[in-house]
Symmetry: C2
Subunit: 383 residues, 2 copies
């Protein structure tokens, strides 16, 4: 898949052991509109501090390294992020302010900038319009597979992401990079990107932990049809499924996860209530272990919503697993319904819907179960 105006690279520069790719590059033919959504964690990695200050705006290069998060690295980390942008700017021939930098990997270790000094020119040389798959491999840490999605309509949209929980070694979490040929201003791109991220990359939760490095960028080259009037809505409609599938790919690849759940809270009094209830249910260890056990344990789901702070009458609640109504306004629907729900839960992907009966607000998020394997992976002593 080619997106006019962009070239991609993924090479090995020496941050990871062996020959695994650890340096990824996106190079635009000229400054592209760029919008970014970043971690809300108070503890923020140096590349995020540097890059988010430049957006929304324009970008011509995106440099991503895996194998080192450049987080909790103090003044030396900030200098390394600045130097990374300088190297890339020099190689491509643009201003350093047109370079977006992202890092993922081990926290607290100094970024060996020398490997980027030699690596970035090699990556720029290797960059090619058909290089997105190599890019996707070079941003992986504990991911088991590269994650690439594309869409074609009036515009072409392609993207790659990485993530599998905020996991071993640690901080090795969510990064996403999408490009499009749409001709769209940075301001419009930013507005659309924030709304789309809210329903995709910010609608997935594996273990409730956010990282110091989370970054989701969208670049638009302007090589495709210009957007006017209703085009913005059409573009957002083309973009959203790509972002949502990429986000869901992260959940599908969750370490120790065996199920991908689309969880919808409906009938909430307002949007904050819908979000609070969705978070509480999706992050409840008791709910997550029941999902792993394929146990339609409606009591745990209703009780998790009950402690979320969302306002509702317990007697007005309804719960569906797949198409099966399991609990209807205070009444358990019997052993037959429970068997049908259990049957649904043996699938790898299915939906759960909890209606609070308190209003019209709705929120859908994507989550996974909690398995002994998750504990085993994350309890491994790092050294």
């Amino acid at each position: 898949m080619i997106v006019n105006g962009f070239a991609f690279a993924g090479i090995h520069c020496g941050l990871k052991a062996g020959e695994r790719p650890d340096l990824a590059l996106i190079v635009a033919d000229r400054p592209a509109s760029c919008a970014g959504v970043f971690t809300t964690n108070r503890v923020v990695a140096a590349p995020v501090v540097q890059s988010r200050a430049l957006l929304p705006g324009r970008a011509q290069v995106v440099v991503v390294n895996s194998g080192n998060a450049n987080a909790c690295t103090g003044a030396a980390g900030a200098a390394a992020a600045a130097r990374t942008a300088e190297i890339a700017a020099e190689v491509v021939g643009c201003a350093p302010s047109l370079v977006q930098v992202a890092s993922t990997g081990v926290i607290g270790a100094p970024l060996p900038i020398g490997r980027l000094e030699s690596g970035i020119p090699l990556a720029a040389e290797a960059a090619a319009p058909d290089g997105l798959d190599r890019f996707a491999r070079a941003i992986m840490t504990t991911d088991t597979r590269p994650k690439v999605r594309v869409a074609q309509g009036p515009w072409t949209i392609a993207g790659a992401c990485k993530g599998a929980g905020m996991i071993h070694p640690n901080m090795a979490t969510m990064l996403a990079f999408l490009v499009t040929d749409a001709a769209i201003s940075p301001g419009d791109l930013d507005r659309i990107w924030r709304a789309v991220c809210d329903r995709s990359f910010n609608a997935i939760t594996i273990d409730g932990d956010t990282s110091t490095n989370d970054t989701a960028l969208l670049l638009a080259s302007g090589d495709g049809p210009p957007l006017q009037g209703d085009d913005l809505a059409a573009f957002a409609a083309l973009l959203e499924p790509v972002a949502r599938e990429l986000a869901t790919d992260i959940v599908r690849d969750a370490e120790g996860g065996t199920k991908t759940i689309e969880l919808t809270i409906s009938g909430a009094a307002d949007q904050p209530d819908a979000r609070a209830a969705a978070q509480a249910v999706a992050l409840s260890p008791l709910v997550k272990t029941a999902l792993f056990g394929e146990d339609p344990n409606w009591g745990r789901i209703v009780a998790a919503a009950g402690r979320s702070g969302a306002i509702f009458e317990p007697g007005a609640v309804r719960l569906w697993i797949g198409d099966t109504l399991l609990y209807d306004r205070g009444v358990w629907q019997g052993a037959g319904a429970e068997r049908a729900a259990h049957e649904t839960m043996t699938d790898a992907e299915y939906a759960i819907r909890l209606d609070l009966g308190a209003g019209e607000a709705m929120r859908t998020i994507y989550t996974c179960d909690l398995s002994p394997e998750y504990v085993r992976i994350n309890a491994d002593y790092r050294s």
Copy 2:
């Protein structure tokens, strides 16, 4: 241990299989001052709805059944809770409004009131001043051992609790009952009890799930020395360690838990920030799995605080595990400190302190680790 004015019983009435005790009674010689702290979950069991409406006030009987939570049981559940109070009132010869009722066990199943009809008179007959151990056994569900603590000073305080996470089958969670011979008004007792619960039963977290049935009662018979002036503070000081040890006993007995952690957030800007950071760290699956793995993974602890909403500068944070300063204002303290911290983490109980460097507020809570065993236990299909 005898507390003047109270008798206790624990018998088998047929709610649990086998001969295991499942009905517990406290009978006071006359109406005692009574204070209660209850679940904040919106989904609340029938006995909680009934009992909390009567407090603070006086109580002469406490009826506790295990094996059935009488939760999500609708109008029939409310009638069963009311009937339980009537039976006990009749047997003891007091008003039904002087009866506190608590239930713990399986959710959603109707409470077989017939077994209480025959059981409560037998329990009242068996009640004896030295019966607290039998009481403690009869309120257990998945607990592995009874939990009893006592203190003697100017007043005698004794109590029992049950809890081991909100766990299989489900809703089988925290109940605590303390008695004292202090002569104290219901209003004073309520004020002291709320403050003490905040630092004991409301300062423990195993998996973040609260139940529909959580209840902590304190009854004062008035047979001991009356409280005047500074006595209230002295009484609270005698009470707090009893409550805290009982609460910590629940963490020590957490199913699948192998470590008991005293987690202190200090240097927070205000109390809500201290609480938010403590909750985020204590409930982070990544922190909890690292505790299980005896891994001094400071990055996970700092990052969990970072997403808590608490305001602090990442460069001002300090972290101790046991007595070892591991992370000092942005600087990792090296491999020697990490080895010392790891050594501490091999203990069954130890302290972690995170200073946010943002103010003077402090919060201490008690939590446990997350083991594969927790997942195994809670993933078991109920049927």
